[in-house]
């Protein structure tokens, strides 16, 4: 007996994902509950139908814990940074400064929900852009559901070359192909996705009227961001692709707001009044935490001696070869490597400590506020952490029992050569949706997509570009990421409502990449 593809097996492999999706979307369960039941479904199917043994399940769960800790380090410190900045008045000050800079709601939503999230994705990683920007959008008057949806959709295009291009590096490592071969199609497809991402942010925040008003700035700024990312990625600087794109987008966006048509003065009622506790505070000093984050992230990631110094302590565990009774094998090796002092979470923590000390010294944070800051962090952090642990555990069981591979195999074998380029982004998106990460989607499916492209005589770089672009856009829809966004705007336990909204918009961005990949495959 061996792992073989049949409709019955394929449906069984899909079952844990269906359980989570149905519970969250139809029954509106929170991420931790739905993930918990999905985990039970995955374990039962893995044991009964995929030959997973006790030892395999234990090791799969430990690998999931390592992956989760890597992610939770960022989430907890991002929450801490946000609550420190909020205590110092940063969120209220931005809420007043932006409407004062331009009264144009469309430009405000694009600036935070599209440009700032993309820039932060360049430097940060898992969930940081949504965790930081969704509360800012709420401060501007958008509903929490709108805010999470805008911040999530707005940065999907920047994920593959974001986080110092970790997902793209994985694509190179898995396929053995050089960056110079993979970068052009990947950057082209993500650049194309950048435009609908901006338009959707305007639509979610401001309706159809807002969408029409956003067409001009989104086309111009989107072209600039896509072009800068393309130029950096195709010239060997893929680690800075999304950061460069995001910075150029922010600069053009700020210039665009100077245009008479978009510089409109804010209505008196749209600028929130200054509160007594913010009187005499400087906007720039209150934003210090975020400025410091930018400086530290660049310094630590780009200055080689600093990076090497901080990367000396790494935590991981070793795992043996794991085999199911059906012969599905996972190679021996270390689990997720956690770089304790050079981790994005560590950079956020350094930022938190320095910012807190400065805010206390200048009197922006009062004595005794630390307790309430930590209380808010724990309240939000515990809920999202439980959800992430359950979801990553589910993904790890599926991965190690061969269920995830079987899902992709079924998709690729049931599709004709002509249609495959259109389907490839959806396979990438499926992997990212299940695992919550573009990086993990590439780990799961890059080799499969490459084999499929070779068998079907299609362009391998195009199909791999479609894989990682789909993974990037699909990762922002994943329950694990939605939980992060929801935790920062008081929507913990209501992730289902946000996912219902997000899935439709996500289908548009992934569909755009799918159509682009199909057209390119016909032209080359």
């Amino acid at each position: 007996m061996q792992l073989s593809l049949s409709l019955w097996n394929w449906l069984l492999a899909l079952l844990p994902v269906l359980v989570v999706v149905v519970l969250m979307l139809v029954f509106r369960w929170g991420g931790s509950r739905a993930g918990g039941l999905g985990w039970f479904a995955a374990v039962i199917v893995a044991v009964l139908a995929f030959g997973a043994g006790f030892e395999l399940l234990v090791y799969a769960e430990v690998k999931a814990i390592l992956l989760s800790l890597d992610v939770l380090f960022i989430i907890w410190t991002a929450l801490l940074l946000f609550n420190i900045a909020r205590e110092a008045g940063a969120i209220r000050m931005i809420g007043r400064a932006l409407p004062a800079m331009t009264g144009d709601r469309v430009m405000q939503s694009l600036l935070i929900g599209w440009l700032m999230v993309s820039f932060l994705q360049g430097m940060g990683g898992f969930g940081v852009p949504v965790a930081v920007c969704a509360p800012l959008l709420v401060g501007l008057g958008y509903s929490p559901v709108q805010a999470v949806a805008m911040a999530a959709i707005g940065h999907g295009w920047a994920v593959s070359f974001g986080s110092l291009a970790s997902a793209f590096q994985t694509l190179m490592a898995i396929t053995g192909l050089p960056g110079a071969v993979l970068a052009p199609f990947t950057a082209l497809l993500l650049g194309i996705a950048c435009i609908p991402s901006g338009l959707l942010v305007a639509l979610i925040g401001n309706g159809w009227k807002g969408l029409r008003r956003a067409v001009g700035p989104v086309l111009v700024i989107g072209l600039v961001m896509g072009a800068v990312q393309y130029l950096l990625a195709t010239n060997g600087l893929w680690t800075l692709g999304a950061t460069g794109g995001g910075i150029s987008g922010l600069l053009v966006g700020l210039l665009w707001m100077r245009l008479p048509k978009y510089r409109m003065k804010a209505d008196a009622g749209s600028v929130p009044p200054e509160t007594a506790e913010d009187q005499g505070k400087s906007l720039w000093l209150s934003l210090l935490a975020y400025g410091l984050l930018v400086v530290l992230a660049f310094s630590i990631n780009l200055i080689e001696p600093v990076d090497s110094f901080l990367s000396q302590v790494k935590l991981t565990l070793n795992f043996p070869v794991l085999t199911t009774s059906l012969g599905w094998e996972t190679a021996a090796g270390p689990g997720r490597l956690i770089n304790i002092f050079g981790h994005p979470g560590a950079i956020l923590l350094y930022t938190c400590i320095i910012s807190y000390i400065i805010y206390r010294r200048v009197g922006y944070i009062q004595k005794g506020a630390l307790k309430s800051i930590l209380g808010r962090v724990v309240k939000s952090g515990v809920n999202s952490s439980l959800g992430i642990l359950a979801m990553v555990g589910l993904a790890s069981v599926m991965l190690h029992s061969g269920m995830t591979y079987l899902l992709a195999q079924g998709l690729s074998e049931g599709i004709s050569r002509a249609a495959y380029p259109a389907v490839a982004p959806f396979i990438g998106a499926l992997g990212a949706f299940i695992t919550g990460s573009n990086n993990n989607s590439n780990v799961l499916f890059a080799a499969l997509q490459m084999n499929a492209a070779q068998l079907l005589n299609l362009s391998v770089p195009l199909i791999l570009g479609a894989q990682t672009a789909g993974g990037a856009l699909g990762s922002v829809l994943a329950p694990a990421k939605v939980i992060v966004g929801c935790s920062t705007v008081g929507l913990a336990g209501q992730e289902g409502s946000v996912m219902r909204k997000l899935l439709g918009y996500g289908a548009v961005t992934i569909g755009t990449v799918s159509l682009a990949a199909l057209i390119i495959s016909l032209l080359i």
């Binding site: 918990g36 769960e61 565990l317």
Partner: protein, 63 residues
């Protein structure tokens, strides 16, 4: 107030603390299981695994 109502109120108060406990258990139990398995302590590995599954069931129950 009915007995069920009182129980639900108590659960509501306890829920945040239960969640923190569950989070700690869900991180620590698999790690203990890993070291137990490496040391061929199958009984301890089974014990931690069952406790992990129970913690997941409690998580689903308390919502």
């Amino acid at each position: 107030m009915t007995e069920t109502g009182i129980k639900m109120d108590k659960l509501k108060v306890l829920r945040p603390k239960l969640r923190i406990g569950l989070l700690a258990l869900q991180i620590l139990l698999p790690l203990v299981g890993y070291y137990a398995l490496q040391a061929d302590q199958l009984g301890l590995t089974w014990g931690t695994s069952v406790a992990f599954a129970v913690s997941m069931a409690v998580l689903i129950w308390i919502g």
